[in-house]
Symmetry: C2
């Protein structure tokens, strides 16, 4: 098949990397969901994958963000945008929050949504700190 | 290849459906991200896909949730857990929030995180309401 007609601004390579990472991420999320049952009305598996994914993306953001070479960019697309993006999910967080509200569990809904956002931001922060500490100890070792 | 050695509790079929949906969802998210540039420090594409995905999952949740047949369950796995899960992402929301905080944009961070959660829950709710209205008008038409 000829590729000469492809417009230069279309980036099929990055999109394919994200798709492959997203497939593995989403499959991993479903695996965790099948392994961890709901706690009453609250689906525990979704906050667990979201917080693990937030930590991983924070780590990756800091570990890879200073590298500008093509392999590092591809790694960000495959593991960050693809895997972490597919592993974590915002739509389930929103739907579970809305359904808890509908079923008159307003406090559970608020605790679930705010708790995920706050703990997720802390997990991301931890990921950034750990990657930064590893980066610093490496640059000290090589200087 | 023989499948007789497969333990009955392993659910490779559902995981494969989720992986396929997740690949298309993540690819779609990357496509939207390439099309919509950041607004200053805030990545507009991520809240846009998250809110669209929340609406879609809310719609799907209500439209398909009452059906118990296998095709409906497969549709939920492919489009809900897979596509909507891969299209939306929680890890970017968490990382962008943490990075805005780190860069001393605390109010932007709080507005970004809370705004996404509140607008996403409303979008889910709209999706549920629209699917419910369509369901009701269909059951009136057939009764």
């Amino acid at each position: 098949m000829s590729t000469t007609s492809r417009a230069p601004h279309l980036s099929w390579g990055p999109i394919a990397l994200v798709a492959v990472g997203g497939a593995f991420g989403a499959a991993g999320r479903e695996g965790v969901s099948l392994a961890i049952p709901n706690l009453g009305d609250v689906p525990i598996a979704i906050p667990v994958v979201n917080i693990i994914g937030a930590f991983l993306l924070g780590y990756l953001y800091e570990a890879v963000t200073r590298l500008e070479a093509t392999p590092a960019k591809n790694l960000k697309l495959l593991l960050g945008t693809g895997f972490c993006g597919g592993f974590t999910t915002y739509s389930s967080l929103a739907t579970d929050t809305a359904v808890l509200f509908r079923d008159d569990h307003a406090w559970s809904a608020i605790g679930y949504a705010l708790g995920t956002v706050i703990i997720g931001a802390i997990a991301t922060w931890l990921g950034i700190l750990i990657a930064s500490a590893i980066n610093n100890s490496r640059s000290k070792a090589t200087s």
